[in-house]
Symmetry: C2
Subunit: 359 residues, 2 copies
């Protein structure tokens, strides 16, 4: 049974937890907003479900709640930011703001980040650009769960890419996607239900196609977007690789199979070639290309044309990236956020640990 929580009650609790691990008021606010953006947009795997995981990383000394986030190197349109081993939920908005400021000055801004941690959903950071009439881009590497095409080794994370594009009267375009066929969170949902996964999501330890939603627990791997070579898995593999290189090789973070794992009980990889997890952010000022008014008139036309594309039988309408999440946000801000029992129990344990109220 799910329990329904209001946004405000989850906000108060999450804020309090971040304060208890030593975050400043400002950082606790930033981290809470970043984290809960996942819950309100319906990406349940990346919201409060991960809160206890962040706490465990802090307990293990892998997260510094008072990080020295600083620019290591910069040019007018770029920067490398050292996240000081902080919460990715705090480091990412900080770095995205640098990208936005650079875009304000020279048209675009591009920031690669090292020494960070899991940053929640990529879409939240990309969307920071929208009120500035800028296109926002966010990506991150992650612990290795994905096998390249023709391989049985886990070499890449689910490495998401988010792109947010402002509009005029229409709702904006917001793509936010793992570069795998299915996000790991979707597998976890099937595992809880003891259900099979569609073919094409995972492979066994030997590299055979599998419908076992728990294949990763027995040495299997997630598959890149495309599933197999015949259906373009080499393209998903390329996309995940680009995210890894932009986020971690450009910045000096730890890349590929050496990316630090999210679960605190998993030992860190040996011989890590860089510091922590890596992210990559971009901001492009619309009026660095054409006037914002002209652009908005055309992007509205684009959005309307695609939303009104002829639907296939059995489908009421054609969606534009970001539509399902925005519709979910409207519902959940009004009706509350359902949290599954195992996560509620998990949060109650965190509440007990810090002696704070959770209801």
């Amino acid at each position: 049974m799910d329990t329904i929580f209001s946004y405000q009650s989850l906000y108060n609790f999450t804020y309090s937890v971040f304060k208890h691990i030593g975050c400043s008021d400002t950082d606790a606010t930033t981290a809470t907003k970043s984290l809960l953006a996942a819950d309100v947009r319906g990406i349940d795997s990346h919201g409060v479900a991960r809160l206890s995981g962040y706490v465990r990383l802090w307990e293990a000394g892998r997260i510094n709640s008072n990080p020295d986030i600083h620019i290591k190197h910069e040019t007018p349109s770029t920067a490398v930011v050292d996240g000081g081993a902080g919460l990715g939920l705090v480091v990412a908005p900080h770095a995205m703001q640098i990208a936005i400021d650079k875009a304000a000055n020279v048209g675009t801004g591009w920031v690669s980040v090292c020494n960070s941690n899991h940053f929640g959903i990529a879409g939240y950071h990309a969307m920071m650009a929208l009120p500035y009439d800028m296109i926002g881009i966010a990506m991150t590497n992650a612990s290795a769960l994905v096998a390249p095409t023709f391989s049985i080794e886990r070499m890449l994370g689910t490495n998401p890419i988010a792109v947010a594009i402002p509009a005029g009267n229409e709702a904006p375009f917001v793509a936010d996607m793992a570069t795998t066929t299915a996000a790991n969170g979707k597998l976890e949902i099937l595992q809880r239900k003891n259900a099979e996964a569609p073919l094409g999501w995972v492979q066994t330890k030997e590299g055979a196609p599998s419908t076992n939603a728990s294949a990763l627990k027995t040495g299997g791997a997630l598959l890149p977007l495309g599933s197999d070579r015949e259906h373009g898995s080499h393209k998903g593999y390329a996309l995940g690789s680009i995210v890894d290189i932009f986020s971690a090789v450009l910045s000096g973070a730890s890349y590929g199979p050496w990316a630090p794992p999210f679960p605190a009980y998993v030992p860190m990889p040996e011989n890590m070639p860089g510091k922590g997890l890596g992210h990559f952010f971009g901001a492009m000022r619309i009026d660095a290309f054409r006037t914002a008014d002209e652009f908005k008139q055309h992007i509205d036309n684009w959005l309307r044309r695609f939303r009104n594309a002829k639907p296939a039988e059995g489908h009421g309408k054609v969606l534009v990236p970001g539509d399902p999440e925005r519709e979910m946000e409207a519902i959940r801000m009004k009706e509350g956020i359902p949290v599954v029992e195992s996560v509620v129990n998990d949060l109650q344990a965190v509440a007990a640990k810090f002696n704070i109220e959770f209801r």
Copy 2:
């Protein structure tokens, strides 16, 4: 039966054709190199196979062989370029060079292009950045053949993305991919053989899954990377959309279902919202992030680690994006380029038209 041509003989012929349609020496050289990059890299659908198509576009007055390519608007890190209705094969390298020059000045350069035409393979333009120790990015929109997830309408082109990343001692990373499950050129090969397509490449006019390689001729559509919703087609659809918006909505080109068709006999769409086809180029100076030496040491490590990932049974090795094309280039520069009979006939007709030698 294929006929084998040396690179030099295809070069001489192609150059001569571009001269005959009125290109300057410089532009004919640029266009020939861009076009033949496809043939040497094994992307046979985009090389000399398209030469007669460019000639027909010129005959139809849709290509200006003496274009006024100029910057419409710019900031230190961006520009919008009007391609003057020129050959994309000429406009694209021109615009990419602007991106590279801007990156030299402020770290990165980003150029959106309107009023252009088909630009050959995206990878060629992205790779222009490599000798400058820059990452190169190239994308383009194209005539609508692809149906969004849940739709039966052709709304997007195969909209490719290319990313080229320089290395030290290892061969560079070069991804170049249509954002569909399979490129249209692969379907054309199956059509010639009267063979079936794998499920997941195309759908029928009614939106049903199909193995008919000629489904597009009866109102069907290509499918976005991911094939169906369960396997992530909404991600391929999002990627194709991002390419369309960056290339055409940012620049003032014609977007979505209004993108101009490549075949000269297909009438132009009505009420086009912009000028010609659009492209988008990016260049990022490596040392705008970290020193090129440091980066190269780590990217070499990345490339070696992935090339040496444990292969699945039946596969000799794991590839990195760009490896198959580079291996093909080595073979074809030595042993020559095979051209299928229908294309040879097509080129002979072009030769006869301009009274030039082809052998």
